[in-house]
Amino acid sequence: MTDKKILTVNGREVEFDSERNLLEVIRKAGVEIPTFCYHSHLSVYGACRLCLVEVEGQNGRPNMIMAACSTAPAQGMVIRTETKDIRAMRKIAVELLLANHDMDCPTCVRSENCKLQAVARQLGVEKIRYKRLQKENLKPVDTSSPSIQHDPNKCVLCGDCVRACTEIQGIGAIHFSKRGSNAEVLPAFGQGLGDVECVNCGQCAAVCPTGALVPKQDRDRVWDALYDKSKTVVVEVAPAVRFAVGEAWGAKPGENYSGKLVAALKLMGFKHVYDTCFTADMTIFEEATEFIDRFTKKENLPLFTSCCPAWVKYCETYYPEMLPNVSSCRSPQGMFGSVAKNVLPEQLGCKREDLVVVSIMPCTAKKFEAQLPKFKVNGVPETDIVITTSEVQRMIGSLGIKLNELEPEAFDMPLGFATGGGIIFGASGGVMEAALRYAVEKVTGQPLKSVDFKAVRGMDAIKEATLSTPAGDVSVAVVHGLANAKKVIERVKSGEKHYDFIEVMACPGGCISGGGQPHGVTDAIRRQRQAGTYVADKAAQLQKSQDNHWVEECYKEHIGGGPGSHRAHEILHTSYQNRSQIFDAKIPAMRGSDAKRVPIVITVNAETNPELGEKYVNLISDYVTAKGYASAIDLDVAFTSREHEVVVIDTVSVDDLACESALARIQTAIDDAVALLRA
C-alpha cells in the first residue's frame, strides 16, 4: 500500500497529491466554492475571502477559519466548506460588493458572463441592505485606450488584472492606488490606459470577473458601415477566432466554426468574407524569406516574429535596441488591410474610399495596431475597424442568429484561401512551424517528408528546437507571455543562449486565448483550442504556406512578383518606433502657435547622459528658428531609464544620436514633416 494523502471535505475522504492549496483539493472533490481572486495560473492573492472554510482543530485545538486558496493541504485535515457563519460572511461579502457596484447590468458588456452576478446567484443574495453606490459618485470611465475600456465603478478589486499584467506579461501597467474604500486599479499617476506602457494585450480583461475591464467595443461602427449603402464592407477572420466563436452556441472549445461563421457574416450583410489565414500564409512567404536572407548573411539574428502587436509594442517600449531584430513584416492583419485596399477596389469595382475592411480578431492589441498612423493612407486606416471574437458573438446574437444551426459556407476568393500553415498561426508555435515548413524546404530544396514540427507546439512557456539544414543548424525558440519573452531576450543579450529565430506571442498559448476571445479561458480550454488548430491543419487541403497558389497569384499580379520584392516591402512591411520614454514626464521646450504642429520628442537618459538632451534641444530649436518653422513645432524633452537616446519627429525616429549624421537626418525629417503639414 502506498502512502496516499487523504483529507476530509464535508465528511468525504478526498485523495490529494501535488495540489498547491486546499481550494484545488476541494474543487477536485466537486465542491465549487466561489472565488473572485483565484486563478490557477496566477499567484495566490487571498483578498476576496469567499473561499473561507472551517478546518477542524487537531489535538483539542479550536476549529479555524482559513482561506482555502492560501492554505496548504495536509494529511488528515478535516474541512467543512460551509458553516452558518461562513455562509453569512460570504453572502455579506457579495452584498457589500454589489452595494458598491455600478449595477447597469442589462447594458453591461459582461452581463452574460459576469462572475459577480453568478456568485450572487449561487449564494442566494437576494437583496442589498447597504447604502448603494450613487450615480453622482461614479468615477469616469477610461476610454483612452483603443483596445481596452476600464470602468472603475464595476471593479471588485480582486487584483486579477494586476497580477495578469505583472506575472504573465511582466509589465505592471496597472496597480492598486489609493487606500481603503477609495482603492482603485489604475495606471501610474492615474493616467489613462492609452497613455502608458500598456501593450493592449487584453489579458487583464480576460481575467476580469466583471465588466470593469473589457475590450473596447466597436460593434456600432461595424453596424454603421454595414447599413451605409455607399460602402462596400468586407471582413477578414483571424485564424484563432474560428476555434472559439462557437462556444457561445454550445460548441466545444477548439471546434472549427469557420464555415458557420462565414454564413453568419454573410447574413449580417458583409459583402465578402475573407480569411486572415491567407495573409498569414503571405506572412510566411515574407518572413521566411527575410529569415533565410538574414540567416545566410548572419545579420540581425535572432529574428523575432512580428505578428503579435502586443509583443511589438513591448519590444518598442522595453527593448528598443532589439528592434532591428524584429521582422519588418506587418502582422497578417496589417498585410490583409494593405492588400485588400490595394487589390480589392479594382476587383470589386468600388472606390478605395468606399471599401471598408473589418477585421475579426481574437486580440485587443490589433485594435491598437490598426489605428497606428503608419498603417493609415490619407488618414484612413487600411484596416478600418477591428472587432474581437466576443464582439462578433454579440453581433451575431443580436440578430437572433443561431450560429450552430447555420449551414457552413466557404470563404470568398481569392483572399479566402489558406493552407494549414496559415491556420496554425492561432496557436503558440504556429508561426514558427509554418515558417519552418517554408524555410526548411527552401533551404534543402527537397519537399518535406513530414510537415509536423511538434517540438514547438503546446503550452510550455519556452519551447526550443534545433534543426539541421544544409545551411547549418538553425536554433529556434517559441515563447508566449511577455514575462517569458523577457527571460528569453535577457538570455540572448547575455550570450547565455543563441537562437536564430524566435516566435513571441503575448497571450498564454497564443492567439487562441487572446484578450478578445470569449471570456472564461482556462488552461484546459487553451489546450482544446490549440488542439483544434492542429486538427484543422490536418484537415486542410494543403499544409505548407508556400503551396498557397492564390498567394503566389497575388504576388504575381499585384506585389512585384514575389516575396521580398520592392513592392512587397512597400505594402507588406513596416518600421518600428522607439517608445522607451518615461511616459508623461515630458518637459516642453518649444511650443508653436499654428493650429497643426509637428510633435518632436527628444528622449534622453538624464542620469547617464544629460548633456545630450540639452545639446539636441539647442540644435533643433536653432534649426527650426532659422528655417522659420518655430510656429509649427512642439518640442518636448522626455526621459528614459535606459540608454536609448532618441529623437522622434512625428512618426520618424532617429536614434544613435552620438553619430554625426544624426543631426542631418533629424533636419531632413523636420523638413519633410513641416512640408507635409503645410501642404
Binding site: 455579506i92 457589500l96 447604502k131 492598486f176 487606500r179 481603503g180 474604500s181
Partner: protein, 631 residues
C-alpha cells in the same frame, strides 16, 4: 581593531561626570519640544552663562580629559508626563518643574540653582489634594508606575556612553557569547510576549525563525506605531534608542541574522533622527559592525522610513513596504519566520519588545519574571489619555488593575470641566482601534494579555482612553470605525467594503435615520468583517463597535428607537427647546442665535424654530436661567 571594553567606557563616562555639581534635564521628547522645551533649554543656558556658571551642553569627552565641572544641561527622551510639559528636572535634588517657559529660566537659575530655593509656581499641583509637589518622587503619576523600559528615558539619548554607563550593551555582550539556542531559551524562560498587540511569545518566534534554514535572515523592528493617541514606541525610540538596537542585535544572534531594519513612520522625525544617530554611534563604538566583541558575530542596522499607512504596522504589509511594494498584508502562512523580508526568514518585533530584551539578557529571566503575572510577565507601557487628571506615557506591571491606572497614576476621572469626580467613570477604551470599550465592572480586572480576551478588548499596543459619563459611546465607536475605514488598505472585501458600510450605518444611528434593522445589519456586518478579513487589522476593526454594542446597548437603542442621544453629544438628535417656566424673556438667546431660530416677545417665554436651528448651543451657553433644554 581593539575590542570594546564596556566597563572602561562606563568608567570613563562616570569619571567625566563625577565633578558635576548639577544636572538639569530638559525633556526633549516630541511633546515637550512642541511646547518649546528646546527654547527653555537655550534660555537656561544663556542665563547660566550670563551668571558666569560653567555650563556643559554636550559631553564630548576626549580620552584622558579632565572631568566636567559646573552644570550639565542635558536633554532627555520623553519623560511621559507631556500634559505638564515642558518638563525640567534638576538633579541631584530631584526637583520637578512643569509648564516651564523660556521666561522662567532666570528665576530658576537665580532661585533654585544659585540659592537652592524652590520656585513654587512651577511645581506640580496634585489634582486630588491641590497640594504642590516639588520633587519627582512625590508625584503620584511617577511613583505609582514601575518603570523598567522607561527608566532610561531621562538619560541623554544621543550619548551612547551614558547608555553604556547604565548597563547598556552588557546584555548583547552576554548573548553574543552564547549559542543561538541559549539566547532564545533565556527569552523563552522570561515569558516575554510581543508588545505589538497579539502577545505572541517572543522566544518562540525566535526559535521558529532559527529553525528556518537560510543563507540570509533579517531582524525587523516594527516602529510603525499608528494607533490614534499612542506614542509608546515613539518615546522609546526617542528616549532610549540604543536599547532597541541592542535588542535587535540579541535577536540577530538568536536567529542567525546579520542585518536589521528599523521601520519607523516618517511622521516621527525625531525618532528617525535619534535612531539614526544611535546607529551611527553604535557603529563608531564598534557594538555594530563586524566581529562584535570579538565573537565573530556581524550585525548591521539600517533605518527605513514608512509613509504613514496604519496597515504597515501589520507585519506582512510592513515587509512589503520595506521591499518597496504597496503596503498590503499577505495571507499567513507563510509566516515571516519562514518567508519574510525578500523571502528570507525574518523576525519582526515591536519596538517595546526589543527595548525590553537587553534587560532580560543582562538581569536574567528570573529577574524579569519578578514583575507581573505568570502568563504575562514584565511591564507594559500605556498611553493614558481621555478624561483623567493626569495623562501621558506610563509603565505598569502586567497584572495592575485599571483602577490603579485610572485613579492612582491617572489621578482620577474628570468631568468635562476638568474637575475630579470619582463617580464619573463610564468606560475605558483599551487597545486602540482594534480594542474595545470596557465598563466600570472591569476596574479591578488585572490587566494582561489573557484576562482581557473575554471582555472583547485587547491590550493591543497600549492605548488607554478613559471616558466620563458625558461621553457618547456610539460616537466613540464611530470615531474608531472612521479611523479603521480610512486606514484599511483596500485589499480584502470584508475590511474595505464592510468598514465603509459599518461607518455609514453608524452615521445613520447618530443622525437619526436608523431603525431596528440598522442595528441588526451593523452587528451582522461586524461579525462578517471579524470572521472574513485577511489580516488582524481587519479582523479586529469591528471590536470598538461590537464591544460598545455589548456593553452599552441601551445607548445605541436610545439613538435608534427614541432618537435621543443620552449624553447630548449627537447634535443631529438634539431637540432644543426653551422651558417656558424658566425663560424670563430677556431675548439674549435670540440675539446670540446665528441663524435667527429663536423668537418671542420681550419678557415673555421665547421659542426655538426646530427647522432653522443648527444646534450650535449658543443659546444654551448664553442663557443665565438654564431655560434651554435638549442640547
Amino acid at each position: 581593531m581593539s575590542l570594546i571594553n564596556l566597563e572602561a567606557i562606563a568608567e570613563q563616562y562616570k569619571k567625566s561626570v563625577s565633578k558635576l555639581q548639577r544636572r538639569i534635564i530638559v525633556c526633549g521628547g516630541t511633546g515637550c519640544i512642541a511646547n518649546g522645551s528646546l527654547k527653555v533649554r537655550a534660555a537656561l543656558q544663556a542665563e547660566l552663562e550670563a551668571r558666569g556658571q560653567h555650563t556643559t551642553v554636550e559631553l564630548d569627552e576626549e580620552e584622558g580629559a579632565e572631568p566636567f565641572e559646573g552644570t550639565y544641561l542635558s536633554k532627555s527622551g520623553c519623560q511621559g508626563f507631556c500634559q505638564q510639559g515642558p518638563l525640567v528636572r534638576i538633579e541631584p535634588e530631584g526637583i520637578f518643574y512643569c509648564h516651564v517657559k523660556p521666561e522662567d529660566a532666570s528665576e530658576i537659575v537665580e532661585k533654585t540653582l544659585l540659592n537652592g530655593e524652590i520656585v513654587e509656581r512651577l511645581t506640580y499641583l496634585d489634582p486630588k489634594t491641590k497640594q504642590r509637589r516639588p520633587h519627582e518622587n512625590e508625584v503620584e503619576f511617577y511613583t505609582k508606575q514601575t518603570r523598567v523600559l522607561l527608566k532610561n528615558c531621562t538619560i541623554e539619548p544621543e550619548n551612547v556612553q551614558e547608555y553604556v554607563a547604565n548597563g547598556g550593551y552588557v546584555g548583547a555582550r552576554k548573548a553574543l557569547a552564547m549559542t543561538p539556542e541559549e539566547v532564545y531559551q533565556i527569552v523563552l524562560d522570561s515569558g516575554i510576549r510581543g508588545r505589538g498587540g497579539a502577545g505572541f511569545p517572543t522566544g518562540l518566534k525566535w526559535k521558529f525563525t532559527l529553525a528556518s534554514q537560510s543563507d540570509k535572515k533579517y531582524v525587523v523592528c516594527n516602529g510603525d506605531e499608528g494607533d490614534p493617541g499612542a506614542f509608546m514606541d515613539r518615546s522609546v525610540m526617542e528616549g532610549n534608542p540604543h536599547a532597541v538596537i541592542e535588542g535587535m542585535m540579541i535577536a540577530g544572534k538568536a536567529i542567525g541574522a546579520d542585518e536589521g531594519v528599523v521601520y519607523v513612520r516618517a511622521e516621527y522625525p525625531l525618532a528617525v533622527r535619534r535612531m539614526q544617530r544611535a546607529v551611527e554611534d553604535a557603529n563608531k563604538l564598534g557594538v555594530l559592525g563586524e566581529n562584535i566583541f570579538g565573537t565573530g558575530f556581524n550585525f548591521q542596522v539600517r533605518i527605513m522610513e514608512g509613509a504613514g499607512a496604519f496597515v504597515c504596522g501589520e507585519e506582512t504589509a510592513l515587509l512589503a513596504s520595506v521591499e518597496g511594494k504597496r503596503g498590503m498584508p499577505t495571507p499567513k502562512p507563510p509566516f515571516p519566520a519562514q518567508k519574510g523580508l525578500y523571502g528570507k526568514p525574518t523576525v519582526i518585533n515591536n519596538v517595546e519588545t526589543l527595548g525590553q530584551i537587553p534587560y532580560i539578557l543582562r538581569e536574567g529571566a528570573a529577574k524579569y519574571r519578578e514583575v507581573g503575572p505568570e502568563n504575562s510577565p514584565g511591564t507594559k507601557t500605556f498611553a493614558l489619555t481621555g478624561h483623567v487628571a493626569n495623562t501621558g506615557l506610563i509603565e505598569v506591571p502586567f497584572g495592575a488593575t485599571l483602577r490603579d491606572i485610572v485613579y492612582d497614576i491617572g489621578g482620577g476621572v474628570i468631568d468635562n470641566d476638568g474637575n475630579i469626580t470619582d463617580d464619573d467613570f463610564k468606560a475605558v477604551q483599551i487597545g486602540g482601534p482594534s480594542g474595545g470599550c470596557l465598563t466600570p465592572e472591569v476596574l479591578d480586572l488585572k490587566l494582561d494579555f489573557d484576562s482581557l480576551k473575554p471582555t472583547g478588548a485587547i491590550v493591543g499596543s497600549g492605548g488607554l482612553v478613559v471616558m466620563n459619563k458625558q461621553t457618547c459611546m456610539v460616537r466613540i465607536a464611530r470615531f474608531f470605525m472612521q479611523f479603521t475605514q480610512n486606514e484599511s488598505c483596500g485589499k480584502c472585501v470584508p475590511c474595505r467594503e464592510g468598514t465603509k458600510q459599518m461607518l455609514a450605518l453608524m452615521d445613520d444611528i447618530i443622525e437619526g435615520r436608523a431603525t431596528g434593522e440598522t442595528l441588526e445589519l451593523l452587528e451582522e456586518t461586524a461579525k462578517a468583517v471579524q470572521l472574513g478579513s485577511l489580516c488582524a487589522l481587519g479582523k479586529t476593526a469591528p471590536n470598538p463597535v461590537l464591544s460598545t454594542l455589548k456593553n452599552f446597548r441601551e445607548e445605541y437603542e436610545a439613538h435608534v428607537f427614541k432618537k435621543i442621544c443620552p449624553t447630548g453629544e449627537c447634535k443631529a438628535l438634539a431637540r432644543p427647546e426653551i422651558d417656558p417656566e424658566k425663560c424670563k424673556g430677556c431675548a439674549m438667546c435670540a440675539k446670540k442665535c446665528p441663524v435667527g431660530a429663536i423668537s418671542g416677545e420681550l419678557k415673555k417665554p421665547h421659542s426655538i424654530d426646530a427647522d432653522k436651528c443648527i444646534k450650535c448651543g449658543a443659546c444654551k451657553s448664553t442663557c443665565k436661567f438654564g431655560a434651554v433644554k435638549g442640547l
